[in-house]
Symmetry: D3
């Protein structure tokens, strides 16, 4: 057979290899926490949007929860605002909150735009719409650090309604407290709270690390699969620290509340989402239950 | 009967008087173009939101299309941007467009917040979501004035879907061209295009004038009802000018495309929407077909 | 502002004040036992129908259960029938039952007519239709007093079906026993049985008294709120007697079977239903659970 | 085979013979005008109810429109009312109308009761419910004969809603004029108007005659099938007179407005409805279009 | 009354007698195991199809599970295949299985054809379609007898879907094992497994015997009703043997898993299904729970 | 980047390239006529099933219409039947028809099995089920050649119902005439008739040729796109002959009756369906309207 033809056949084979994965996740909800480098690099951004759009088109129900990336800091500078500190902690005062909401709104609609451009129906909302995210004020070491909130309630109805109407929901992590004040929410926390509330099949964090290491200084200690018990032990024994600690806690929390699998992916690898879902190539770290049905292909 | 009791009975009577109007507009779509002073004055703003929320609760299907009020200019100043001009026309360059979208997004969510606070389910979108508003670049006297668009297509499906799910949609007037660039749209134009696309029963403009005058200098010439033919004649004869001209053209366009009635209301009067809909008090100017079914009460 | 305008604004404010109540009872079922003076006085009758119709139009689901008022006695006389007595108790023999059914049917359709006249879709049924009310013969002090029944089963399906089709059901208190004989049912009992069977939010009795008194001779002892425990205690201690005793028992029974609140209203006050539901004016006596969510406004 | 067994087999064969008819009328609407002797004789009454109930259970959608039989006259006497006449025409004054409505209501619920007793869900309504029948005052030779109405509008929605909820509707021929006054309607007219409005497949009149005769004095001239043209000719040529004339006009009117077949049945024959529908025995007279699909079995 | 008329009236009475049965089984699922003489004799076959079709048309939901009758043996001979035996047991090798599937497929479609001919919508499937029947290999006395399977899982969804779309499902007893090999299933077992999985109201076996006898040699010992306890006792005491033993076990298994009644009918009696369901003539043996609601008419 | 990783990324890119095609054909119906070598070669067969299953999983609605391949001839030999001829034409007598139906049934279920094995819900039917295909006897040059039929009516409801229930329908080309006799239908004709009746988006024939040639002797004259006018001209000018003539007529007929595109594919190329749909590689010949929307990617 001629060479050009072979190339086409190879492509067909790749599609066929995707069959069991497409079948496995048909109509399943996948929450993607989108942030980090994958949000800054235009090339990577385009790949993430392609991936999520493909997931939607082949029958999954993806939801994007995004942060503001480096845009918020950029605009704080642009407007000439001075960052506030209390006891050394950065504070989100009303003015900063207003700007943060504007920036998150801009990012939100730019993602809608990219998805729409690929022919898929997207809708950009924040935790205010339909009362999606209700928060309590978050205290840092007992200090009031302003309008930063902990999710205390997720009104999942709005998400089900939008999914039923075949939208791809894109969510900015902003919420309201009982007095209807606006609060910023950590995007990881928001993604985790939403994934739990809607019993997502998967929750995937796009991060700027390769995954979880036993010894962060030794790349060879990357953990590709971690069950809940082992994860807890690692934390107790002090192996996990820094920014990774709350992330792992979020992951375990999600698993213990009905999410089947949580993935810490390296968002710097193009198509990391597709690679995770459609191939047997282990990307990053998967957190799962101690005992798990053996339904995953290629493991 | 004691006096306190009488007061309560009077209140009951007011509710009963609303019966025929509630019945008349049950499940009808009412597009409210929200702008002007009613958007700046906090007191008036609260009234507008109450009115729209009440309309929703008693069975109507209101939709808000809003402008950015004076917020955009305020932020242009805050950021220190220099307005651009071409041949004396102000130009919306990419940077201004970015800021305008941020401000409109902020306004949008603040309205969502106010409606949610009154216990009604709101969702804030722009013309990007679900591909709602498609635009062509607008030229002013043949000049390119940047990212300002004319609506060329309304994807009404998204609105029907949101209404079906019992949301009160709040819409920022931003759209995409065929190359998926972001454009600002005049809020009056956006409201008019949407009202036509979904065959709204009513389209109401909240403005800063009392209504249409035959002679703007003589308050006694306020026109309370204007049919399409008379409206066209007034325009031909030059009675209508300034900012009112495009508004009237929009009104007539809406009527000729299936909207039953268009209202130019004085947004400076508290509860002007309720007064128009629930009482026989003529507020502002109503534009209607030359021949009209006699279904209006109190006329 | 001119005086006429102020009047209109006052009206708008009344509508706005109704907002939280409309929102609170949206799609909730409210059973109204309609009887007494409010059924005889044409003026009061018109008010009751307006009230119920308004409740329907603003999104509640009202159901009317009515008695025959003084019409039955009037017709017994007209036809020249002699009342029957056994041991001093009045007996509903077959002939009286036939006439009572005719009169209740007439009253039923006259209420349908009044509601239809206000533009709301009504349907008049009795407990025979769709097998709504199944009864056992009621004995009075062990004596057979003829075709008077106790409700033993409510076939709630028919009511749900009619509500789903957006009818306002108007129900005459007639039922069938296991042998398909026709029985008269006390309208209070019928309303109570229906409210329990469909888990109504509210059950309101229109009566000819101001409410429940601790000491019926002392108007100042009117009880505006009564919880179940206190109600039982009052009965045990003999404070409640006469026709009020079975009514209170009905109320408590309803509360204990899922109805959120029962109201004994003074039907002689025009719009007593609206006053109860839409204002913070206490009308009559409200019976409620000992512990109750604090969702009522204006209390 | 033993004799008892043969009897059972014969029964099975009868059911099997019904197959094509059951299939033919599956989900078709059949309006039965119920009146005459079949309403007075308890034995015949039971048969009619059995027939209609069977039609319902095997998948048809029967609707009963009934008159008041001789009950109205009986009650007029009972109450001691004097019939009114104007120019020799009997007049339905307000008092008579009130009594007629009461009697029709009683008859209506007694039919509901019989159908419910056979385990089928019935609902008894009049033309007031859901605004089913709107009338104009009927004049007799230009004379006002009181509250007698001509149907001018049928609100078919209510019937579709009740059929959808699987009720067997039983309808009393009472309607409202534009001022919401109560009117009596000739039951034949009401049945015909309803059959036309809902495009019934069949309209069957239960009468006290054997059918239409060419020569009423000669029983051998009974017409078993009559098409519209021939029916009109017979009327023009004066063969049809008396009470039969308006009935035939009603029949032709129904056929010309979408009803497939109209039957004038002899209600004095037990099970005349079943005989007509399930056997090839011609009962009474069938009126049909000049040209008709040959879908009838056994003809 | 003339004689011909009387004949018609008798027919009408037969239909009326069927009323309570039609009502009783409305929308109930009835699984018919079709086999034996009733499948070979063309006359009987036509009767069975008529019966099942009638059941469908009057509102029941019948399902046919059929065997291959004597057709399989006939074709084995036609093709010249030699039956295989292991230790004296007949073996279904791959070649025989292939032929058996072909024959069952032919029989299946011929039944579809007969039902369609009577105007009812049929669909013929096997246990492969929609993954309806999953099997394990069946061992006979520990011996591998080839592709003969025991049902281990019924995917009832497909049946509900087909019933919802108003099909009469006709099912060939073929299934797949976990490796997707084709297996033959005993038709009695398949019918029983399906009836249990969908909670059928009735399961009726068409057999070539009159029913269950206490003493097979004494026709007077035919048991017309057998409850589960008595059935178990008879088996323990050795009264039931031969081919009847597994059938009775199937029956008891079905009753204990939610089927209300199982019938062993004599398929050689024409219309045995109708006789059983629509008359009080006891045909064959009915197996039922020890305690049973008294809802059956004519018993 | 390491080589293994590159391989994975290449795979992800292939999936992404499929995006526009997946989007383009979402929920569109694609009829695949399956026959020829692709049915005989087990390797090719597996590929076809994979392709169709993938189409189903990514949101298309594929339908397979299959022939019997060489199986029918094989079985005719096996059974020892003598082919019949009339005037040199092969005749499908009753016996052959019976065998053909058995073989087609076997092939049908084997395809169901393969699709089910890949986790997709399949249902195998013939034109008898639900009365799908009604035929007239086909004459060949005026000669009766037995039970060979021309489709005269397609009852598309059954297909819509099965698609709605998410089945992948697999159809054997057998139909019934008005007397309910069984007929064989040419599989190409059946596929074409079905595609027209359900307004399929695409109809694809898997054949044993590379496509349509202008000069069959010169491989370089392969036509990759052919519009209806040119196709007709080619036929008129005699360029198309043999077995290709009726195929092309079928294609043109399909296009002229609402099918958007018809493809003559070379079934000997593995994954020819995927290649056609998901790549810009032209496989075989596409027949289309003279004027066509430019919605195809990669052309």
């Amino acid at each position: 057979m001629e060479k050009a033809m072979q190339k086409y056949l190879d492509k067909a084979e790749v599609l066929i290899e995707a069959l069991p994965y497409i079948q496995r996740f048909n109509r399943k909800i996948i929450v993607v926490k989108y942030g980090g480098s994958a949000m800054v690099d235009e090339e990577l951004k385009a790949r993430v949007i392609q991936d999520v759009t493909l997931l939607k088109l082949v029958g999954f129900k993806p939801i994007i929860v995004h942060g503001g990336g480096k845009e918020i800091s950029k605009w704080v500078g642009k407007v000439g605002m001075e960052p506030q500190f209390i006891n050394g902690l950065r504070v989100t005062d009303a003015e900063t909150m207003e700007l943060a909401e504007m920036v998150l709104g801009k990012v939100n609609k730019s993602l809608v735009q990219l998805v729409e451009q690929l022919g898929v129906r997207a809708i950009g909302i924040s935790g205010k719409d339909g009362g999606l995210l209700k928060v309590d004020k978050k205290l840092a070491d007992g200090e009031d650090i302003g309008f930063v909130g902990d999710v205390k309630e997720v009104n999942a109805d709005i998400i089900y309604d939008l999914l039923e109407k075949d939208f791809l929901p894109i969510i900015a992590p902003i919420g309201l407290d009982d007095d209807y004040n606006t609060y910023n929410i950590n995007a990881d926390d928001a993604a985790c709270a939403i994934a739990k509330a809607i019993n997502a099949e998967k929750l995937a964090f796009l991060t700027d690390i390769e995954g979880v290491y036993k010894d962060p200084k030794d790349p060879s200690t990357l953990i590709s699969e971690l069950n809940v018990s082992d994860g807890k032990k690692l934390m107790e024994e002090g192996y996990i620290g820094g920014g990774m600690l709350p992330k792992i806690q979020n992951c375990i929390d999600a698993i213990e509340n009905g999410v089947s699998r949580v993935h810490i992916l390296d968002g710097r690898i193009p198509h990391c989402l597709l690679l995770e879902i459609f191939t047997n190539k282990g990307i990053g770290t998967a957190i799962k239950n101690d005992i798990e049905e053996r339904y995953y292909y290629g493991e």
